[in-house]
């Protein structure tokens, strides 16, 4: 554990990613203290104000609401959606991917056929269909996005498992008498963690954007509660007159994604004994 911390501190990308995510979390946790306004306060004097005008550092939107404040509050939704949906997708996708990859056979084929069928639908369409079943609301949106991510996780994990399974050290463990459970948890899982981390961090942005789409369709977060995604979609009618409405939530999503990717990259390297000095 101690050496993990030491290696963590040494990894530039892990530290940078960790900082970005930490700032995000602090914004989310202490939003009422950090925000300069109420997220649904409409300042009719300053509609579509430019950044800096009237005490609105990032400007205001078409209702005169403070964009900085809405970004700070929006980080709550976006982080939650990102973490929970990716968590659902990664967890269930990994289980299915491991079963399909490790046991192949009938069960594996069945899982992959089902998977391929799901993957042939557009991502958003599937999420909308899920929402039709689950009903609207933020919580259901996170579940829907998570479920929609399962097939792609399952596929990535399955191919990682198929590769590792061929390694002689897996055969060696079996020959020593290791049960399937032991082989999976002690040998396969630790060796697919890198793929899992990287793929999860890549999917974070997808989750945030999907939430935006669902919110835009009135299926996700209900206005006036802000999320980065919904702010972005509201901004698209004002791109000419008020580009800052899109730029700031876009930047927030971008920076957070970069943060997760850096953290993911760093963690992968830290966890790989081959890269230790």
């Amino acid at each position: 554990m101690k050496s993990f911390l030491r290696r963590f501190v040494k990894s530039k990308s892990a530290v940078a990613g960790f900082l970005i995510i930490s700032i995000n979390i602090i914004f989310a946790l202490f939003a009422p203290y950090i925000a300069t306004h109420q997220f649904d306060d409409m300042d009719f004097m300053y509609i579509l104000a430019k950044p800096g005008e009237g005490g609105h550092i990032f400007g205001t939107d078409d209702f005169g609401r403070d964009i900085f404040t809405r970004l700070v509050y929006g980080s709550r939704i976006s982080l939650l959606v990102g973490v929970i949906s990716v968590g659902i997708g990664a967890f269930i996708g990994s289980i299915l991917g491991i079963i399909a990859g490790y046991f192949e056979g009938f069960l594996g084929a069945l899982i992959m056929r089902f998977n391929d069928a799901l993957l042939s639908f557009p991502y958003v369409l599937l999420a909308i269909a899920m929402m039709a079943v689950l009903g609207p609301g933020l919580f259901n949106a996170m579940i829907a996005i998570g479920i929609v991510m399962i097939p792609s996780f399952a596929r990535v994990i399955r191919s990682a498992v198929l590769n590792i399974k061929e390694e002689t050290f897996v055969t060696a463990a079996k020959v020593l008498g290791a049960s399937n459970m032991r082989v999976i948890f002690s040998h396969i899982l630790p060796n697919i963690v890198p793929s899992l981390i990287i793929y999860s961090s890549l999917n974070f942005s997808g989750a945030v954007i999907s939430e935006a789409t669902l919110s835009f369709l009135g299926l996700g977060i209900q206005p006036p509660t802000p999320s980065w995604g919904s702010m972005l979609s509201e901004a698209k009618d004002f791109l000419q007159v008020a580009p800052h409405m899109a730029i700031f939530p876009g930047l927030a999503i971008l920076i957070t994604c970069v943060g997760f990717n850096l953290l993911g990259d760093g963690l992968r390297d830290i966890l790989d004994p081959r890269l230790r000095k």
Partner: protein, 325 residues
């Protein structure tokens, strides 16, 4: 005393039809192979790549399933997975490729100790003592235990592989080309270690190799294989100084002789390609490359036993049961 007896072993791999996934062809990787291993001996299996050596090893370890035949260990028939599981501690294997045979995310201590953990042998202290013990046996120092595989040299990796197999105190150790992927200078060290361990611990070895040179000084008996079939089985002296099967002769001739003077004039060499195992020749598999081939060679081979040796070659039919060559 026979420690292991293999009778008429057949191991076929289905080749799946790409479109429908139905097996429509088989690779007869091991096709009707019989041999036995005496307790305490080094029994070598020699053959070119693809002759089915590893398949025999993996089948003996219960990784591949046999299609046919008997495996008898210590007088007891080994039939299903459960039987193999009971044998884990008594038969172990050292793999050909030390690079991929060690989990890159485990420390050497955990790699070597895994067998004890799986079989729940001993307390933590006892496990540690056994690990340190076996590390010394294979000629490594204790500081290796906290290292990861990528920090080790090829020779060290193979020693770790040997230690992992030995810690369960097996009676029979299968060595699948234990030195093939090592530098020549390291090969001799590992081979010496194996011979020393065999004497010290009273082990029995099945030593798999494609290099006759490697085994001629250390093995007691040799089995020569070609395309899934046995060509010849005999004592090392018999095989080395009086090979019977044309394939064995060719194999011996392809071993470089240090002194050119000693070279045989009408030396047989291996010409032509190894036929595809998907489509092996009828009769004797060596027929298309054999310069003695005759009509008879299109027929299935029967083992011809002479004294302590067995040869699968129609040339020796008349010698059958005559007891001499």
């Amino acid at each position: 005393m026979k420690l292991l007896e293999v009778r008429n072993l057949k191991v076929f791999f289905p080749i799946k039809d790409k479109l429908f996934g139905k097996p429509d062809k088989f690779v007869k990787a091991v096709n009707d192979v019989s041999f036995h291993v005496e307790k305490g001996e080094i029994f070598s299996i020699v053959g070119e790549s693809g002759s089915g050596k590893s398949t025999i090893a993996f089948t003996l370890m219960g990784i591949y399933r046999k299609n046919n035949g008997d495996i008898v260990f210590n007088g007891k028939k080994i039939e299903n997975i459960g039987d193999f599981d009971l044998l884990r501690k008594r038969i172990q294997i050292v793999f050909q490729d030390p690079d991929s045979s060690l989990d890159p995310r485990k420390r050497v201590r955990d790699i070597i100790g895994e067998g004890l953990k799986i079989h729940k042998i001993g307390t933590k202290a006892e496990i540690n003592r056994k690990i340190e013990d076996v590390v010394e046996k294979v000629g490594l120092t204790q500081d290796i235990l906290k290292k990861y595989p990528h920090e080790l040299s090829g020779g060290q990796k193979q020693r770790v592989g040997i230690a992992r197999a030995l810690i369960l105190e097996p009676e029979l150790l299968i060595l699948d080309e234990p030195t093939a992927s090592l530098d020549v200078s390291i090969q001799a060290q590992i081979l010496n270690l194996l011979v020393e361990l065999q004497e010290r611990l009273g082990l029995t070895y099945i030593l798999i190799t494609h290099d006759l040179n490697l085994v001629k000084h250390i093995s007691d008996r040799i089995m020569v294989m070609y395309l899934g079939k046995v060509m010849e089985i005999g004592s090392t002296a018999q095989i080395m100084s009086g090979p019977l099967h044309p394939y064995t002769k060719a194999l011996l001739a392809s071993v470089p002789v240090p002194d050119p003077e000693k070279r045989n004039e009408d030396e047989e060499t291996l010409t032509g390609e190894i036929p595809s195992p998907l489509n092996p020749p009828e009769g004797c598999p060596f027929r298309p490359r054999c310069k003695y081939s005759m009509d008879d060679c299109w027929n299935e081979l029967e083992p011809i036993e002479m004294k302590e040796r067995i040869v699968f070659c129609h040339l020796y039919k008349e010698h059958e049961n005559s007891g001499g060559v």
